[in-house]
């Protein structure tokens, strides 16, 4: 085999030993394509997992993700890419916001979910398979049961919004609480149009995590 094939070996070795060196921080980036659970729920369509955009009364699609009051976007990133015995030093959740309609009082709420959810998740149920299990309060609004009582309250601005979620990711990674992801909601009289997860819009939601060996 020709030596030319191995001309990049020193670089690889540096990466290899450098990454394993004590105290060396590493950053990984995941996108919504690597999430294992996504859903868009709405009180207006209480049985839908994909209530992203209502184009006409009762007609829904996922070309857009419009966050009105009484709607929620649920997203969970698996954390199994992070090796064991690491310390999370920084985690940033990057969410795309296409438009913000309404007054200046619009707020984006990001809360850690406490209840497990899965197939059939919708406004009424956190799962419907194999049997329906209701949220404590429809829309995952049960404070302290469906979701944490206090989350982050942010002023949404069109563009990429970076949210510090280090505490949440550390809690999940350390196993103190189970990772059920976040719910993003808008509790005020406004509309926040988030970047869609499908139809050409995938990959814009990101979770960037920096960690280092303990």
């Amino acid at each position: 085999m020709s030596w030319q094939r191995w001309s990049m070996l020193p670089v690889l070795l540096i990466c290899w030993f450098g990454a394993a060196a004590p105290g060396h921080a590493k950053t990984i980036m995941m996108t919504d394509e690597e999430t294992d659970q996504l859903a868009a729920i709405a009180a207006e369509a209480p049985r839908l997992s994909w209530a992203g955009y209502e184009s006409a009364p009762g007609v829904w699609n996922i070309s857009l993700l419009d966050l009105y009051p009484n709607r929620g976007l649920l997203i969970r990133f698996p954390l199994d890419k992070i090796p064991r015995r690491q310390r999370i030093t920084k985690a940033e959740f990057i969410v795309p916001i296409d438009y913000v309609y309404g007054n200046n009082e619009a707020r984006l709420y990001v809360r850690r979910l406490l209840a497990e959810w899965g197939p059939g998740v919708c406004h009424l149920y956190r799962t419907t398979l194999p049997k329906p299990i209701e949220w404590k309060v429809p829309g995952a609004k049960g404070s302290g049961s469906d979701r944490v009582a206090r989350g982050q309250v942010l002023k949404p601005v069109a563009g990429e919004m970076t949210i510090n979620v280090t505490e949440d990711v550390e809690l999940w990674y350390s196993g103190v609480v189970r990772n059920h992801g976040w719910i993003l909601s808008n509790d005020d009289a406004a509309m926040i149009r988030m970047g869609p997860w499908a139809f050409g819009g995938r990959g814009r939601w990101k979770l960037r995590i920096t960690y280092e060996p303990e």
Binding site: Q4, W50, D80, P119, G120, F199
Partner: protein
């Protein structure tokens, strides 16, 4: 290509270490990323020369359907600018179609020279065949007379030696003319015939006609006397986005139906007006290209866009699509057929040009990586296929008879 001599000399002392270390680096860097991908690749495989592929000479096949219990194979052909044909083959004891099919009539109104089948369905209990036929569009104002006179729905009685046309109807401006495919389906209770390709002014619609116990459409009440009961009463019509279309109607329950729309799979809830139509958009959006099949025992369905290498596996909860679908990338095959599930074999069958793929499923309805395939010279048109669970075979339209089988 030039390489520095110093680099080559510098590596010489690491010769023994280089390969295993490189392998380790590669594994560490790439393995976790590969695990997280939503897209699952089904790699190319050698031709297995699997049995059970039955060629059917049909150079312009557009629709195919097989009935396992009756042993009837239907093949609808359409050549551009020519009148279409609908052939009924009976299969022999080995499951091979006869050489002398019966041609079913495709009636058309005076002045119309072309009609062709775009959708086929068997009645689940009666020996009846339902055909949705269409004709080429004509520009206004001539289209008005065509809309008024052209009958889209034909029902044939297959219980006698010679098939008999026992119903013709579904004419009028609410049925789009000039369509390509139609996902005609009867529900398991035999009470509804789901209809595609409907319209209301500028809106694309879908709906159903109620069937009586003889499998015939109930007449429209207000015109019952005037029309002598030949106008089907259309019920529960819903508007959908895009061009009038509708493929692969899959009733999940009495109230919820899945089907392929212009932008992707659609859930139609017939009763709940709050979530009446729910679409999952997929790229590229195209009419008549989204083909689906629902697993009979697992809450999953498969959807593909004809002309792509992808198969999507969706989960559904009582018909409502849920969570993000898995996307399977099929190496070295542009899929052009509809997907056909063979539950007894627990496999999904698809076809493209000159190839039929057999994709095994696991207990959760995931497509397994190892695939089976058979090479066969298919027609150049996007081939359709039909499957038989009884004979574990796949009917594939071919351009000409295989010399060996003559």
């Amino acid at each position: 290509m030039m390489h520095s001599s110093t680099g080559r000399c510098g590596l010489a002392s690491l010769r023994l270490l280089s390969f295993p270390v490189a392998i380790c680096c590669f594994a560490v860097v790439f393995a976790p990323v590969a695990d997280a991908f939503k897209e699952i690749r089904i790699p190319a495989a050698a031709d297995d020369k699997l049995g059970g592929i039955i060629p059917v000479v049909a150079p312009h096949a557009k629709v195919m359907l097989f009935h396992d219990d009756l042993g009837f194979l239907l093949v609808g052909e359409r050549e551009p600018k020519k009148d279409g044909t609908l052939a009924l083959y009976r299969v022999d004891g080995r499951g091979w179609p006869s050489a002398d099919p019966v041609l079913l009539p495709l009636p058309k109104p005076p002045g119309v020279s072309i009609s062709y089948a775009v959708g086929l369905a068997f009645h689940p209990k009666l020996r009846q065949l339902y055909v949705w036929q269409d004709t080429d569009m004509v520009p206004p104002p001539g289209d008005e007379a065509l809309y008024k006179a052209f009958e889209h729905l034909l029902i044939y009685d297959l219980s006698k030696p010679g098939p008999e046309l026992i119903y013709r109807g579904c004419q009028g401006p609410q049925y789009q003319i000039g369509t390509y495919l139609a996902g005609l389906t009867i529900d398991s209770k035999c009470a509804r015939l789901y209809l595609p390709n409907m319209r209301d002014k500028d809106a694309a619609m879908i709906g159903y006609v109620a069937l009586d116990d003889k499998g015939l459409p109930l007449p429209e009440a207000k015109d019952k006397d005037k029309d002598k009961g030949d106008r089907a009463r259309v019920e529960n019509v819903a508007a959908v986005s895009g061009w009038p279309s509708g493929t692969s109607f899959c009733p999940i329950s009495d109230d919820v139906v899945l089907f392929g729309g212009s932008y992707g799979p659609i859930t139609w809830d017939l009763k709940d007006r709050r979530n009446r139509i729910s679409s999952f958009y997929l790229y590229p959006y195209a009419n008549y290209r989204f083909h689906m099949t629902v697993h009979p025992t697992m809450p999953v369905f498969f959807c593909l866009v004809s002309g792509q290498q992808y198969i999507y596996r969706f989960q559904h909860a009582h018909g409502y699509m849920t969570l993000m679908p898995h996307r399977y990338l099929i190496d070295d095959l542009i899929i052009t057929s509809q997907p056909v599930l063979m539950p007894l074999q627990n496999q999904l069958v698809v076809a493209g040009t000159n190839k039929v793929l057999f994709l095994k499923l696991d207990a959760k309805g995931n497509i397994l990586e190892k695939r089976g395939q058979s090479a066969i010279e298919t027609i150049t048109e996007p081939p359709v296929i039909a499957c038989s669970e009884r004979w574990n075979s796949v009917f594939v339209p071919v351009p000409k008879r295989d010399k060996e089988k003559k």
